[in-house]
Symmetry: D2
Subunit: 342 residues, 4 copies
């Protein structure tokens, strides 16, 4: 059994980790910390876990996380970098669901996240936890930077096209739509039901923190620096993320064959039949990314459509997938989830 | 492995049965029929099932359902009564998710369902599939009438109080609220998104088909004919059902102790701490019924609050629970589900 | 032109007052105060008001509200009682949308609202702003206590029955459902989209602040102290409130005739045809209360169904209606609103 | 008073026309036809209209629409072209809210709409009812083709940029999101609440009927044939449409000044401050189009964001605006609507 600790389990990625790990056959939940909620039973905060998770939140100071095999950080950005070294030194492997180790260029990270990085040297050691690209590094990594939700869906959507060198990489567009849980379990006005329901808007159109992470990935796929316009939107879903990706292609490429071949062996990427339109609800609660494509009017623009559940493949599910890889579990262990439809 | 067939799998109870049975360790899905969709792969209609269910719908005429151990009818009321006898005669056990065998008084059934019953003699043989009350009958039944969603939550909510003889049974009130999936996957105007979203209304306040079923159950619990006012409402949830039950109680009964004792051994009924308010989302996708109670201003009215997922404990999940009991599987096999929250 | 000031216009009742007053032909908006947002243009906070309201929030200290004819308090409870006397002494009439002057028994008010009342003597002077009952007092009142949303719909629903002395007043039940805007524009976790969407729950079942206000009103209608069980619920609507009311009636009363007669001259109460089910969306954005009734199985329980928009007839619209009455405007001035459907 | 008739008033554009026309000071509603619902009072179908509209639906055969000054067709495409000539010959002016007269190239129309056009000669006479571009033609037109919802928001969004000749017109992208009411009041499975709620998907990505209409307009603005990729999406809003438009610009143009100047005199186009993100709810129920823009990372891609209410500026409101222009009413008569927020 893998002994697991969770730091900061009171947010949506935290409760989602608990939902997944509680049902994982190879995991023993050892500790979950929260400074603010220490002593409270987890199932009192998240009643869906009643009968499934018996743990109480414990104070970070009291929790002996060094006894764990792996610790997940489901904290805001800036926390894991303060605590990772101690755990790593104790032989504990770390999976950070926040952004501390995602960006390899520290200066870029510091600019977008507005703080100094506490341990730039660890960034180099971190594997970027997108298994479809970096599975080998993840396998042996002591520290994994779990990708952001937008970066996951946008990278998986563009990957085969960019790897094949078929797109005009100066002019990529990612028009992405996220459910409200992506903003986290934070009491802020814009995310109130009466503000976000029956409403649709873009946000961060001039610049969003996930932009440098996506550009870093796409540039690596393409082998050159890409030009990307990324516009995120808030849509009245609880969960769900939809990316509509636009790329100019030169040749008359068989996109369907390209994508099917690229993802043939991937357990969590499902290439739909040509002409489909993936629905976010088809992956609600599941670790799957569903992808399809269109070429309107047979022009030179290819449109890629990709969906994930932002809390699963976009966060907690991918983190568990990474854990499975790191500990030589079957990659699908605990993740054989069927989307909740309707 | 239990060999399972499903008749009429194109509705919401059908896809939910498939979701649950596909993950059930003791089940082999043999056939799913649909006259209209014969030949279509199930996963083409319900993309969440891609990679999990490989079956195609087959024509009812072609399907040899007599090779199954059990057949679920996920059909409108009036279908199972036409086909059950043939299956039963062939030794196949039958679980009807519709209303054909729920009401023991044929005349009452015929009045509320507006058709003649095709096999009144089978009604007597049917066990009413509410395991928390009729587990023994279900165990040996060849034919199980799976309860309606409203009847499930209202009966589980009132059960301990009525069994204990503590309520004024002349004046029971059940104010119930259902998500829209309860209306089924039918293209009808009132259930359009633009009609049902951001809208709340009662319906069937003067009489709803589930009323006689509930009254039959409550009267049996109470040992006398009860007077019930039942008002269902449509609320903009996809899934979820909430019953607010009102009963006058004579004595100063310890409701918490009563309910905890009554449901102590039930795997799918969760009595919350006193003073709680159960949320429908805590059981989203799960087979659990969560119950609590209040006694406002210490008066003589007890308020019971109970929630289920109308498609799980209110339909497909309870049907699988019944199957488990009928075939001596662990009652929770395939049903150890955690509510999807958020 | 009535010169109008608003204290505390940054909440949902504030923006709704602005929407209504901006279109009111007899009103001049003079000032709107907010300590926190002083200097900000109202339309920058509420972009729907761009082009319709040019005011900026001003500091309460700077605003000379004594130049107004009437001041609306769209503040939390406890604010108006601090400031009302000064305005009243200056000859300004006051309409409080919060609870400070609703409860005539100061001790009861202090118990439920958890603070000492700053000016108990003013409570006696206040008219309770439910025009369908207290129109005459409102006409001449200097201070109007605008009713709560639940109290409005529950009182209008029960009024004719209780006035006629037909109900068993020991055992009244009000099962009420509110949209999330009823909680106000406050950044609190339970009202986040990801918490409140696709979810239904009761709250305050053991006691809610609106209970004493409702009991006070119903008791006055009935001419004796009533016994009421009141259970509010949170439902995923932005706006909308639905009351399902249960009363035992002795005789075979013609409820339809009773209600139609009672409300025949009321511009904002619409008695639907017998057998109807009112929808909250039919009054979305409108100042109308729609009411109907059922008598299930011809028993002795009458079910009253009533809907309002909690922000309009349940708050800002009723406040404007009261202002119209106080200033001898046509009662419907600025309020001839059609519900936004769909 | 303008005497108005409506053909086909049982859909969402029909009820919206009624909501707007009932409150229009210069309009007399004369007749509303529906073959299927003849005899039914309009307010029985749409209870929000109770007390505001007294008309009943009448049979198209019986209605003497020739007595009207103007007739709105709120019918599916293909109906107005059958009946327009008779009305026009009788001196009645016609506003078609469907697509019959929007596309000037009959062959293109016939290809996309899959039927033969009944009166190609009338197409030439029709003014395209986008007042911000074609106000002069509308003023004198006998027949107005009211634009589609997507075409309205996409054309208004791109208009100043294309008129100024600043965009690379070979590679325009319109990523558009629509509320579900855009699909009409039709009982079809994909638009059920349980299908469309908490779900997001693209549709028609390979080709949508609004594409040729948009391309026709943009090409006229640009003075040359444009290349457009148009991807519509279904989002869980009742009303609301959001266009995210991408264009490559050569020079360092002052987009803010350009848009503000272009729309300075338009009563229904509101250019937001630079850096804003328009919300669909800010125009809920209003005839306003709100527009803003971004230039991410100061690159050569300009992102235009534009929102409308698909039923108002995208349909019925724009139709009333056109009527006002045609009959020399103030253009804002009956349309001085404030968005319903929250």
């Amino acid at each position: 059994m893998i002994k697991v600790g969770i730091v900061g389990g009171t947010g949506y990625t935290g409760v989602e980790l608990l939902r997944l790990l509680a049902a994982h056959p190879g995991v023993q939940l050892v500790a979950i910390t929260s400074r603010k909620e220490a002593g409270m039973r987890v199932a009192d905060m998240f009643p869906n876990l009643r009968g499934h998770v018996d743990l109480a939140f414990c104070d970070p100071q009291q929790a002996d996380l060094t006894q764990c095999d792996v610790v997940f950080f489901a904290t805001p950005s800036g926390v894991a970098m303060q605590q990772a070294r101690e755990l790593l030194d104790a032989g504990v492997r770390v999976i950070d669901l926040a952004a501390d180790f995602r960006i390899r260029d520290v200066a870029v990270w510091q600019k977008w996240y507005g703080m100094e990085h506490a341990c730039p040297d660890l960034i180099e050691q971190a594997a970027y936890g997108l298994p479809e690209v970096y599975r080998d590094q993840i396998r042996t990594a002591r520290l994994v930077a779990n990708p952001g939700c937008y970066p996951t869906v946008v990278q998986l959507g563009f990957l085969p096209l960019l790897k094949a060198g078929l797109a005009d990489t100066d002019y990529l567009i990612a028009d992405a739509k996220s459910g409200v849980s992506g903003a986290g379990r934070k009491a802020e006005l814009p995310f109130l039901f009466a503000e976000a329901a029956d409403n649709f808007k873009a946000y961060g159109a001039s610049g969003h923190r996930h932009l440098p992470e996506i550009v870093q990935g796409l540039s690596e796929f393409a082998g050159r620096s890409v030009g990307l316009t990324f516009v995120p939107h808030l849509t009245p879903l609880i969960r769900g993320m939809h990316a509509t990706l636009y790329a100019r292609v030169a040749e008359d490429v068989d996109v369907q064959a390209l994508y099917e071949a690229h993802y043939a062996d991937e357990p969590f990427v499902d290439v739909l039949p040509a002409g489909s339109h993936p629905e976010t609800r088809s992956v609600r609660g599941a670790n799957t990314c569903r992808i399809t494509w269109h070429r309107p009017q047979r022009g030179d623009t290819v449109v890629i459509l990709a969906v994930i559940d932002n809390l699963v493949k976009g966060a907690a599910g991918q983190a568990v997938q990474n854990m499975n890889i790191m500990f030589s579990e079957p990659e699908t262990a605990g993740l054989n989830l069927i989307g909740l439809l309707p």
